[in-house]
């Protein structure tokens, strides 16, 4: 039969030579190959201690951002929930009361905001849809494994950015250390 690719090799079934029949040369060849691998660099990453470097455009766990004065940016407009192809986001909107101006930036805010991490496909469409630059997918955090399904529904307690600058994600709106310190002082005064 004519070869179509001209790459076919014709194999002859020759009788084995004495060296081939004695097995030993082939065995030593094999042993040398495995010994080379014994000293080669290991592919293993010891996970909890070592992690693979994340890509700078990795889309990981969501975060709800605060603005420069530490107020929640989210206004509970629901555009992220509409944009979400996996329908992972639910929220309940509420009206800001007097005296809460330091907590919420807009007059309307999200009383609850939940993302179901089992439904979420981490596409980032919520991030694109948000008009207030409030929701971001962090490049350096993943949703960790858990034992119960309901633990994968992240509420505001786990989504809203912490006030302390050290614990913040490196992506999205950033505060300078001075801003963060000023914010921290302000928040502690309010609490008192």
């Amino acid at each position: 039969m004519q070869s179509l690719s001209n790459r076919a090799k014709i194999l002859e079934k020759k009788p084995m030579t004495l060296a081939e029949r004695a097995y030993l040369p082939a065995i030593f060849q094999g042993l040398s190959i495995t010994m080379r691998h014994f000293f080669s660099k290991k592919a293993t990453i010891r996970y909890p201690e070592e992690t693979r470097p994340f890509s700078p455009i990795f889309r990981g766990l969501h975060v709800l951002k605060r603005d420069e004065q530490g107020r929640e940016r989210c206004t509970a407009c629901g555009l992220c929930a509409v944009a979400c192809p996996a329908e992972a986001i639910t929220m309940v909107a509420g009206e800001r009361k007097k005296g809460e101006e330091g907590l919420y930036r807009e007059e309307k805010y999200a009383v609850s905001y939940e993302v179901n991490m089992l439904r979420c496909i981490f596409c980032g469409l919520c991030e694109e849809a948000c008009p207030k630059a409030a929701v971001y997918l962090q490049a350096d955090k993943m949703a960790p494994p858990r034992f119960e399904r309901d633990e994968f529904i992240y509420g505001k307690d786990r989504l809203v950015e912490p006030v302390s600058p050290d614990a913040r994600s490196q992506r999205g709106i950033q505060l300078t250390p001075e801003q963060a310190q000023a914010l921290f002082n302000k928040m502690t005064q309010q609490a008192v």
């Binding site: 030993l24 094999g30 495995t34 691998h37 014994f38 290991k42 592919a43 293993t44």
Partner: protein, 366 residues
């Protein structure tokens, strides 16, 4: 032999027993780490530093597993099988000389479980019994795959014992004794280190090591187990520590086979230039202390040799695929046995024409 000497001997036997078990325990760990390294992985490293507690974790796991008895199995034989495999594996290490003697005042401690003048026959007898453990276990399981594995094990061991015994006969022709300690001592004539039997018997050593692989049911001759064809072979129905005993017995067999090869072919506890070193030490330390130091180094030497062989066993395991059954039988009966017979004839001829260096008579008479 008065009582203190017997006490020391009992202690040595206890230590040899413990060391066999310890080495078998850590062989499981070494196997996994070496397998991992040969496959570009790092192996178990979670339990303890570098995963050194992994064998303990495995033991705990095995002990807490369900004790399962298959329906229609012979319960007594089902328990007896792994016990026999373990006992025979452990008994074999009794006659291996792990070192020369230590001398403290008038007390002399021989670093060997028991010295018998038929040590080699004893090892062969005990190791041959090991196949009964596999055979009984496979038979008592009341399972076709177990029985097939057991039959394979039996026929394989019988086939390869022949070639192994014949390779050994050539060694015995050279050394003219069955005592393992005598064979060891003959391999170190003062001033000459090339008296190791592997130099005199290269072909015999190759035959012996191939047969040792088959006798210990290690890859490429692990047909009794062959996970892919026989779902585990003779220990298909075994669970819990009974399974553990079978796995353990295999590693003890590997240890014993490595020790026997070190003693028979690689000079046992002898190492090059030991007599020069002993003479140099004797000048500053005195003859007795020098001898004790050399004996200690000899123990280190034989264990280094044993560990190299254990490493080689594992290295081969993760390199070569398994033989097909007809290939196994053809290799055993049509290649190794004729080769071994040829080796006997060759050795006989070489001894007759004084080509093989003879151990000097003055050294033999010691």
């Amino acid at each position: 032999m008065e009582l203190p000497a017997l006490g020391w001997q009992a202690l040595v036997i206890l230590v040899v027993f413990g060391v066999s078990l310890l080495i078998a325990t850590y062989s499981t760990y070494a196997e996994r780490v070496i397998a991992a390294f040969l496959q570009d992985r790092v192996g178990p490293d979670r339990a303890g530093p570098f995963g050194l507690l992994q064998p303990l974790a495995d033991a705990v796991k095995l002990f807490t597993k369900e004790e399962f008895f298959p329906a229609g199995s012979n319960r007594a034989l089902f328990v007896f099988g792994p016990c026999l495999a373990m006992v025979t594996a452990l008994m074999a290490s009794a006659v291996i000389p792990f070192g020369n003697y230590l001398q403290f005042g008038s007390t002399i401690i021989w670093l060997q479980g028991i010295e018998v003048n038929i040590g080699m026959l004893y090892i062969f007898g005990v190791v041959s019994l090991g196949v009964y453990g596999i055979m009984i276990g496979g038979w008592a399981s009341n399972n076709k795959f177990s029985l097939l594995g057991a039959i394979r094990a039996a026929s394989q061991n019988i086939s390869y014992e022949l070639a192994m015994g014949m390779a050994l006969i050539a060694v015995l022709m050279v050394s003219e004794t069955l005592s393992l300690r005598q064979i060891t001592l003959q391999q170190s004539v003062p001033g000459e280190w090339y008296f190791w039997n592997v130099v005199k018997q290269p072909l015999g050593f190759i035959i012996f090591i191939v047969c040792a692989f088959a006798e210990t049911n290690r890859t490429p001759f692990d047909l009794p187990e062959c996970e892919t064809e026989l779902v585990g072979g003779y220990h298909t129905e075994y669970s819990s520590m009974k399974m553990g005993l079978y796995l353990f017995a295999e590693y003890i067999n590997v240890f014993v086979a490595s020790a026997v090869m070190s003693v028979l072919y690689f000079g046992g506890f002898n190492f090059p230039f030991q007599y020069e070193l002993q003479a140099w030490l004797a000048e500053s330390q005195g003859a007795v202390t020098a001898h004790n130091i050399i004996t200690g180094l000899g123990v280190v030497t034989i264990f280094a040799k044993i560990f190299s062989f254990i490493f080689f066993f594992m290295w081969v395991r993760w390199t070569l695929p398994r033989f097909r059954y007809d290939q196994l039988m053809r290799l055993g009966w049509t290649i190794l046995i004729p080769l071994a017979i040829f080796n006997i004839l060759l050795t006989g001829g070489l001894i007759l024409f004084n080509v093989i260096p003879q151990v000097p008579k003055w050294w033999l008479l010691q």
